[in-house]
């Protein structure tokens, strides 16, 4: 089985190629949600879907209680199951840089990629959008390909108030992400899936990481909100 998880386009450590990665230093995440709205603006992301989002868990017993945030986004896996799942080649990986992107004109909206993603990082665009005329196809985080290829950090990284999000080339040993990944204990989400995710967490709390998909469940208080979401979403 393990052979199936090998990918011919792995770019980690390939000489002459870039392999972009994000390090999320949870010691510095303050849960301000600035990344969420910066991303919404950057891509005119419609209400009801997110390219990046920040779930949290309250843990402990009064008065010893803490709050743990865990910013989420596409992991831009080196071996992305979504690419393999797409029947029409709409989802693809950029060899130089490692971006996992989407050809909107090829997407047939079958949602196979959404089902295959162990991180729930993909979503279907609704019919209505503010000013961007691309709808009813699957969308996702692009690692801000349009900015990074022109020398700029992703929008969520730029606005990160706590400077919890660090972005750079993992194949460049001098980059900040290389230094952080080399010198500090880091974790990735669901390593057992063999996807080789390229979002690394520093200080990840097991309350956030150990639940598998359950971690994405909304808080209890939002049960009615969740029902409203299920009822009205994508209308």
């Amino acid at each position: 089985m393990s052979e199936l998880r090998l990918s011919s386009i792995e770019t980690r450590g390939v000489p002459g190629k870039k392999r972009y990665a994000m390090v999320i230093d949870l010691r510095r995440c303050i849960g301000c949600d600035a990344c969420m709205t910066a991303c919404k603006a950057e891509f005119d992301v419609p209400v009801g879907v997110f390219r990046t989002w920040v779930p949290y868990r309250v843990v402990g017993t009064y008065p010893n209680v803490r709050k743990h945030f865990m910013p989420r986004l596409c992991n831009h896996c080196d071996d992305p199951p979504c690419v393999r799942a797409c029947p029409v080649g709409a989802t693809y990986k950029v060899e130089d840089g490692g971006f996992v992107l989407q050809h909107y004109d090829r997407c047939i909206g079958c949602k196979a990629c959404m089902a295959s993603c162990p991180y729930n990082a993909r979503f279907m665009l609704p019919k209505s959008r503010t000013y961007t005329d691309i709808t009813s196809v699957v969308d996702k985080c692009t690692f801000c390909h349009h900015r990074v290829t022109q020398g700029l950090a992703p929008a969520c990284v730029v606005t990160c108030i706590g400077r919890a999000r660090i972005f750079g080339d993992l194949n460049d040993p001098a980059s900040e992400v290389s230094r952080l990944v080399s010198t500090l204990p880091t974790q990735v989400l669901r390593p057992e899936e063999g996807t080789k995710p390229h979002v690394f967490y520093i200080g990840l709390d097991r309350h956030n990481s150990e639940f598998g998909r359950a971690v994405y469940s909304p808080l209890e208080v939002l049960e009615e909100d969740r029902q409203a979401f299920n009822k009205n979403h994508g209308a």
Partner: protein
């Protein structure tokens, strides 16, 4: 407006997008061999072309971050922090990133409106600017003839840089009210007489220990974004410890090294007990106290002996051992700082609480040192000349004889004063204000006042949106949003002073006009030929011309190019470059810039000393003004107080029968609370300001409902679990909302955030999305079809009675005693009820604590020798 309708066709878009992404995939040439830059540019994700960048200053809340607005096809599509801004360093919070939705709110008002039905009935007629101005001028003319003070202006957020005050002064009225008493005024008054400024600037990035009393700096507070950048830096890079006292698990408390829950309003007692331990164990900085304050170490030790940890523990619920331990940690870790915001200050005696907290960095000598508790650094700009004179007569309400120390005014008592006939109002202006939602009593108090045409005969709202207050107006003048106007800015939100401004990123939408133009147009209508002597104060071509009169002669900025420099950079000075590798501003050598410390230890020059006299206590007097203080043979500038040193003992307070020394007063009605009674507190979400952001879709999507936080243990006792309907009842009314039962709150506290439960403020805030958008001329947003939530929360302010700090004038937001019960069979989610009469009783009750009231003496047995209210001379209020 045409640009708003611009849409690239789907086919063209898909082709462009496919072509560019495919090209990128095939051509590694696009990648550069450099670390990526942190902002300053933005590109379209569709066609990869650069978006137009215009620097400005954010104004979604009141922190004033440097921002860059990006424009594509004439539309503001993206906002970002200005990387050249020393405080902001290229980053904005969730609110700042969403600011374009103030401009593109589909329910925005884009032309003047006149009420045609009864007040608040919601019937409007579109009128021309000329009709609106003519009617206003006519009413103003009559009002001024009777008494200029019958013209009132109240603002919520005034960042016009003096234009609002100039307007009301031009009319000859002193009746101007602000918003500070429902914000942080008692913090200001706790600090100002002690060391001069009304705020501190902790050096979070370089500290080793942060003792945070009731500030939720990770979500809100002055100054959320710039401060918390440094808090994160201090904690991660400098290994600083963050200890937070709060009644609930805010994000700040939840991310602190220690969260220590306190009983509401007792932070001051804890701070005094910490001081007691420090002084008892001789851990104070004696040299600093003896040199820089108006008390000696011995006096301080004597005074603090009464504040034992046992005493504070009983009041606050904080264990004695915790107080002992934290006191030792704070005093022996250098540098250390405290930080406070509304937690200690928003109580009956909030000013005392604030001062008690402030004493900790003072007694440990952490003032104005690297990593310590520093003075704010500000910068000024000029006012266009000539300026209107001070109004001839003081105004009763702005001058509030019962609150002589509350120089930031006591605006939340206005409806009661107007109803009592303390001041007659003929014309009432509001600017960027919404007290019908934001103030205690909400619609039961302010709504009642505005609906009564005898109390408010003519009411003009300068607003962009049909808020709860604007909905009750007679005439609505459509103002511009912050991205469409000119405004000067400066805010002490880091250790480096700066000047900045707002410039229009796009032309004002529809018929909207920016504030200073509206004000000018009213004055010009009232005094068309200048014969009334008003027109001369409003002599400018446009907003830019006004900015030039404010900025073009500021020393330093003038040489840099004045307004032309700001148009390009948005801020001045530029201290260095944002380093992508560290997120810090670095100088030409690549080293992080360092602020100046020890401002009070700057020495006076020989020229300064010429003609100066040194008094016995060391104060250096010149031309009747204290300019510095002599210590150990050196002439220092000292602190900006009346005698240039820190006033631990505030003599002015004693004149009015208040304790001049650090002290604590337990809130009397908290003393004998019954078992089933709790304290109601409110708070802000990380993604909302008080009232304006509920109309911003991205923020409302993240937080749109506000269940009441209840501790698990309390929930078990009351048989309440998450999702249950609960009834929260205070002495003035009750509400029915949902419960959120968890571990993160003091068992005696119920917390309901504000920012939800709007009944006006547009279709999104009030969730009336079935109604048609664009009722007042704005373009609809198709994305609102995707709004999925059906719950917009319950607003708590209606059941919160007024409380006024007799010193600082603050509203006691966190003082309300409530009963929480499981909702009954007839209770419905969202039920809210309160009565004007009960709110009036609360008003009368709180006036009894004023220095003129009958409870003042009872609350201050230690001031038995005070001569009574008649012994104090009345002072004029000031404030801004």
């Amino acid at each position: 407006m045409d640009m708003l309708n611009f849409k690239i066709s789907r086919r063209a878009f898909l082709q462009a997008s496919a072509a560019t992404t495919a090209a990128a995939a095939a051509s590694p040439r696009l990648l550069r061999a450099m670390e990526v830059e942190l902002g300053g540019k933005d590109f379209s994700p569709v066609n990869y072309t650069e978006r137009k960048a215009i620097p400005t200053t954010c104004h979604v809340c009141n922190i004033q971050d440097g921002a860059i607005a990006y424009v594509e096809n004439g539309r503001i599509v993206k906002l970002e922090g200005n990387p050249e801004h020393v405080s902001t360093r290229g980053r904005l919070c969730a609110k700042g990133n969403s600011g374009m939705w103030y401009t593109y709110n589909p329910d925005r008002i884009l032309y003047p409106l006149k009420r045609v039905g009864a007040r608040g009935e919601g019937k409007w007629k579109r009128i021309t600017w000329d009709e609106a101005l003519a009617e206003i001028a006519q009413k103003l003319d009559a009002a001024i003839k009777e008494d200029p003070n019958t013209v009132m202006l109240k603002w919520g957020r005034d960042r016009t840089g003096g234009a609002i005050v100039r307007f009301i002064k031009t009319l000859g009225s002193a009746t101007m009210m602000n918003h500070t008493s429902v914000c942080e005024s008692s913090k200001k008054i706790g600090m100002q007489p002690t060391w001069g400024p009304d705020i501190e600037t902790p050096d979070f990035a370089n500290t080793k220990y942060i003792l945070n009393f009731g500030s939720n700096v990770m979500e809100a507070a002055y100054f959320h974004n710039p401060y918390v950048q440094r808090v994160a830096e201090g904690m991660a890079d400098n290994k600083a410890k963050l200890v937070t006292f709060d009644v609930r698990l805010s994000n700040t408390a939840g991310r602190s090294d220690e969260w220590i829950p306190v009983f509401p309003g007792t932070d001051g007692a804890v701070a005094l007990a910490l001081g007691h331990v420090i002084l008892r164990d001789d851990l104070q900085d004696s040299d600093f106290i003896n040199t820089w304050t108006n008390v000696t170490v011995e006096e301080l030790k004597d005074h603090y002996r009464q504040f034992t940890p046992e005493w504070a523990s009983k009041l606050s619920g904080v264990p004695v051992e915790t107080i002992e331990r934290i006191a030792h940690e704070f005093a022996t870790t250098k540098p250390a700082t405290t930080y406070t915001y509304r937690g200690p200050a928003k109580h009956l005696y909030g000013a005392y609480n604030e001062k008690a907290c402030m004493m900790l960095p003072i007694m440990t000598g952490n003032i104005e040192v690297r990593g310590g508790y520093c003075l704010p650094r500000g910068m000024g700009y000029q006012q266009p000349q000539p300026e209107p004179p001070k109004p001839a007569k003081p105004s009763w309400m702005s001058d509030h004889p019962d609150y002589p120390l509350a120089e930031h005014k006591v605006a939340h008592l206005v409806p009661f004063w107007i109803a009592e006939g303390k001041q007659k109002i003929n014309v009432y202006f509001t600017y960027m204000d919404n007290p019908v939602y934001t103030n205690p009593g909400a619609q039961a108090v302010w709504g009642k006042m505005f609906r009564d045409e005898k109390l408010i005969p003519f009411y003009v709202s300068m607003s962009t949106v049909m808020g709860e207050e604007t909905a009750l107006a007679d005439i609505i003048l459509p103002d511009c949003m912050y991205l469409e106007r000119w405004e000067p800015e400066s805010m002490p939100n880091s250790l480096w002073p700066w000047l900045g401004f707002r410039q229009p990123v796009i032309k004002p939408l529809g018929e909207t006009r920016e504030t200073r133009i509206i004000l000018r147009d009213i004055i010009h209508k009232l005094d068309p030929d200048g014969s009334r002597g008003m027109k001369k104060y409003w002599n400018f071509k446009d907003g830019e011309d006004y900015m030039r009169q404010q900025f073009d002669n500021v020393p330093g900025l003038k040489e840099a190019g004045g307004v032309d420099f700001l148009k390009k950079h948005g801020v001045w000075p530029i201290y260095g470059k944002l380093d992508p590798a560290s997120g810090k501003i670095v100088d030409k050598t690549g080293r992080p810039i360092e602020p100046e410390y020890g401002l009070h230890k700057k020495e006076l020059s020989a020229a300064d000393m010429t003609g100066a006299v040194v008094e016995k206590n060391g104060t250096i007097m010149k031309n009747g003004k204290a300019i510095g203080v002599q210590r150990k043979g050196r002439n220092y500038v000292g602190f900006p107080t009346h005698d240039r040193i820190i006033n631990v003992r505030v003599d002015e307070w004693a004149e009015y029968g208040f304790n001049p020394m650090p002290t604590f007063k337990q809130i009397p009605w908290h003393k004998d609370m019954k078992d089933d009674e709790m304290i109601l507190t409110t708070y802000k979400f990380n993604v909302h300001v008080q009232s304006r952001t509920a109309s911003v879709k991205w923020l409302a999507e993240i937080a749109h409902s506000n269940p009441a936080w209840i501790n698990s243990e309390t929930g078990r006792k009351l048989g309440i679990k998450t999702g249950d309907l609960v009834r929260v009842e205070s002495k003035v009314g009750y509400l029915v909302t949902k419960a959120y039962v968890f571990e993160g709150i003091n068992p005696k506290v119920v917390a309901i955030p504000i920012g939800c439960g709007h009944w006006e403020y547009g279709r999104l805030a009030s969730l009336k999305l079935k109604e048609k958008g664009g009722a007042w001329g704005a373009q609809d947003d198709p994305d609102l079809k995707n709004v999925w939530w059906e719950d917009n929360g319950v607003h708590p302010n209606l059941i919160i009675p007024v409380v006024a700090d007799p010193i600082g004038g603050s509203q006691g937001w966190f003082d309300t005693v409530v009963k929480v019960t499981k909702a009954g069979p007839n209770d419905k989610y969202g039920d809210v009820q309160a009565s004007w009469e009960k709110h009036v009783d609360a008003f009368k009750e709180t006036m009894r604590y004023a220095y003129t009231g009958d409870l003042h003496r009872k609350m201050h047995p230690e001031m038995a020798s005070w001569g009574g209210p008649d012994s104090a001379r009345h002072k004029e209020g000031g404030g801004h």
